[in-house]
Subunit: 145 residues, 10 copies
């Protein structure tokens, strides 16, 4: 079973079971964004993690095995064009060059790692309508020869 | 003068003057990420903002006029391929589907606005190496007919 | 079952049953453009909506379940190249920059939301041939930090 | 002078003169969306139209001549990626197939013309925030051999 | 059954039956280019047309049903790269701008409709080798507001 | 001078002079579609042809020299997206596979040459609106080893 | 059976049978490059050719039927990126413009036909390592109106 | 001066001087295809070669210097779409897989080098029309670890 | 069985068996990078190599046969976008032009062969974190006519 | 002055001066691959580095200033298609998946950094022809939350 097929089964099983991603993450014992990404196929899970998630959702061993496989984390323009995801890319078109300037000014020539990296999401209440707050937090890496 | 030509003059003048983006933002009286994005051509400035920035950097009226123009905020694959900016896009390939699931679970069907939106950047000290922390903060918009 | 497979079943069942989209929308209790978009896979339906539509068209529970799933609303160039849809895109090439200028002049820097948004279609009789009238109606969102 | 160069001069002259697009359209004696599209290079103007617009904005005969030239109305992905314009395209990804179904159901096999066509824009006041209303109005053309 | 699958069955059945496209068109009672295009999936057939074609070729009701479905007429670069089709596109690269100039000079600003449109093909005997003559015949539509 | 620059001068000079393409073709002594294509840069002219055209339009020797140069006849997606030209391409998406089938049935495996080829354009009066009739006429070439 | 599926069966059957392409071509009674191209799906075979090839390779009638079908000869960038094929394309990037100049100088404005065309391959012994010699041989076609 | 600008000067000077590529090659003392490719910017010339070519064509030292520069031999889709060059690419779509099979059968797993490589062009008289014969001749390189 | 299907079986069987790529390479009797590339479908194996690998991993004869087939080594942008592979491509964007200059300076005009070529990977211990060291080692080929 | 314009001046000045990249690197006091990449525009230089390089090559202060600017390190497909650079990309198509497997097996889930990274090039004498040896050496980064 491919990781994509396993992800489809996870999504359907979650809908049927009524479990939240947070409940699954608590069972797996890992942060909720990481767990969701892993169950959708973008991180390999340990045997224990895969097994506990599949048990909770009533999925078989073949799904668990697929969740353990090393993923190809490919760039998929169709996925990136979904409006909920696209807004992040659009924000990068508007603010990417500014972030680049400010990273270089504060840290020097280098990048924010996307590997030594974590991302969180929170709801921020606001009188004009609640807000989605997503935090990208990665280690600075300088161009070091 | 185009906004792109104005942005080039801003970058060079800043290098020569030794001013930081924060100093320019303080002069303009606006947040530093917004100000940097505007000076690089992605937001229109008011006449006062453009004028104060150009005065600080020793730039002419033609630059100030260009900074006031309404921009086209285009998607530029070359810009997005710069490693410092690319890491954000790569993170979206890995975590975008998870963020989408979690936004829908928490808020329902909809998006984080990239218009009613602000972004901040900070340095987070860490014993293994300081970290770049970028916060995307946008109003939730639900698919509402 | 994927939403794409469910959409194919909907289209075929509608052809066989002779139902109009309006009849289906009346059964579902939602606007006709929204209902059609949802049945073609671009909006998630509630359990009641999915169930009533499937009952009317004689479709199974697996179709109803698929209609409830959260969609990926992807950009599909093949779909956009169909002449009936392409004419809208062509009109944007001709009038998009003008609409942008007029939105900015009337409302300031910002956009018409495509989320807090509705679209209607009507026939307008005309002696030279009836006309298709499509109205895009979205909340104005200003670039607000 | 190319039509693109003429359009840049129009935009800058309008900013300096403080004229609205509506005022220019009134001077030209044509609908405001059409006039704006023409001045941005997407429709050829008559000698009288070009001349009256240039006179109002203080532009030279070379600009007027360029405004009279027959345009190439090209598809420009960079322009279409501007957020204010992009939302229309995104709406087509979501609602295009539904519009296609409803056009075929109501009119038969065919298209909404983008040539025998007009587009209008209006502000619709709304307690939750005013709305941008854009109306596409084109003659129905059936596939007729 | 999809229209693409139906088209494959039509092509194979025609090869086996030895029928010409003209014979099929005569049976269907429609022009040969239109009929061929419809059987290959680019026009919807009426129930009678689909039925008579399938009867002649010995194809089942599922094929007939698929032939009645409304098509997506997509642009498929692979199909357009076939040499027999590509030569038409190449001719447009060479003569397209000239045709545009001559249409505008003769008819004014507008297009040849591809909807109110017919196309014919003929063999023209010639001592240096017979010639393929393809005639595109569409109603002129002017840009009319 | 490049052929593109020469073409721009031709187009402007023609507008100023009020000459029709047919008049220019008569002066050059060649068919009007060929002449227009050549003046727009897609065919090399003989020294006499280039010279007579430039004399009629009041253009210099550098233009004449450029018109004599061997062209690169490139595929330019922007040009092909102009609506007046695009309709031909759209027709190929709809009718290309049918034309391919009918060419093969009538002539065997091969193509209509786009080199040993001529194209004509005519106006066909019609009570419902006059029609643009474009004839592609090329020698059949069979796949012959 | 599609021509692609037939080609896969041919390739596997050839591997198992140990036959060379030359032996198959001798059986078919056609040049080896033509025969190989036809068996891989890029030329239609006569009933006799298809039958004799399938008999030699122990393949069924469905394969023979597929080999007779008229092919779509599409441009497939994946295939063209295979290193053994890519080197030819790379050579065209380096020498294509020179070949164009020399064809025009020797023959006038026109092309080497790829339809009235044959290609051969040979091994040329050389002390520094044997060489692959591929000869493209096509009829010159001039741009003739 | 860039190599592209130098190439433009070479082409124009050759037209004015009436020299053939063969005459230039004889002066340079190198094969005609190589010399033409070098003068069009795809090979670096030695100081003597550049100097002798420029002397013959009456071009300046800046052209000679540009001809000596190491080129970027880039893939340019516009150039490859010129019909005279495109036919070679089309032939690769049709015969590339067959050539790959035959190279592997005769030589084993590997490629024809495009570096240790030469290409020649000749006219082959033929009663049905003379033929363009282009020979690609490259050293076989096997995948050797 | 295709080579891609065989590769999937190899990856899963390896995970289940717990074998390392080095152990498989030792069994096959070939370098580990070569063996891994071959098992993933990018090199043809000899009958002995394929057989010994399949025996070790408990895979069938159909897998072994697929491993012997000559591969198409295609460029697959999705694979190249995986972060672990992408970093190599990114390094080429930064250092590719420098490597080109230094190859030309040291060796003359030519390339590093990717056919007469081997690649090795090693771990280099380092106090700041161990390093991945990948060595590309290919024969220099000069542009030699 | 842009960094691209500065790079052009560096390349020409180096040709005229006869300096090697190693001599320039010794003057700058940095590794030769790094220095070459920086002078071609892909790394920012310190004021001292830029100044010493420009002094050696006889270039002006404007070049030195451009060399100090922070670069955009963009992906440029034209540059990557140059044969000398392309061979590296081709090797990644063949060996990239194998390198990914071996990195994951040896180091776990993660990447070779392209930022904390150095690259070296050397000539390795060989009786069959000397070899280009390029070593990529980057810190391993594991996916660490």
């Amino acid at each position: 079973m491919t990781k994509a097929a396993a992800a489809e089964q996870v999504v359907t099983a979650r809908l049927r079971s009524g479990r939240t991603w947070q409940e699954i993450a608590d069972t797996v014992g890992a942060p909720v964004v990481w767990t969701t990404a892993a169950l959708l196929g973008n991180h390999p899970m340990s045997a224990e993690q895969a097994s506990s998630a599949c048990k909770l959702l009533g999925l078989g061993d073949d799904v668990a095995e697929a969740l353990r496989l090393q993923p190809y984390r490919v760039r998929d323009e169709a996925v990136l064009s979904d409006p909920t995801i696209y807004r992040f890319t659009e924000a990068l078109s508007v603010y990417g060059p500014a972030l680049k300037e400010l990273i270089h000014e504060e840290f020097g020539d280098g990048i924010m790692s996307a590997i030594n990296f974590q991302v969180d999401i929170a709801r921020r209440p606001h009188p004009d309508g609640d807000r989605v707050v997503v935090t990208f937090d990665g280690k600075f890496l300088d161009y070091r020869w």
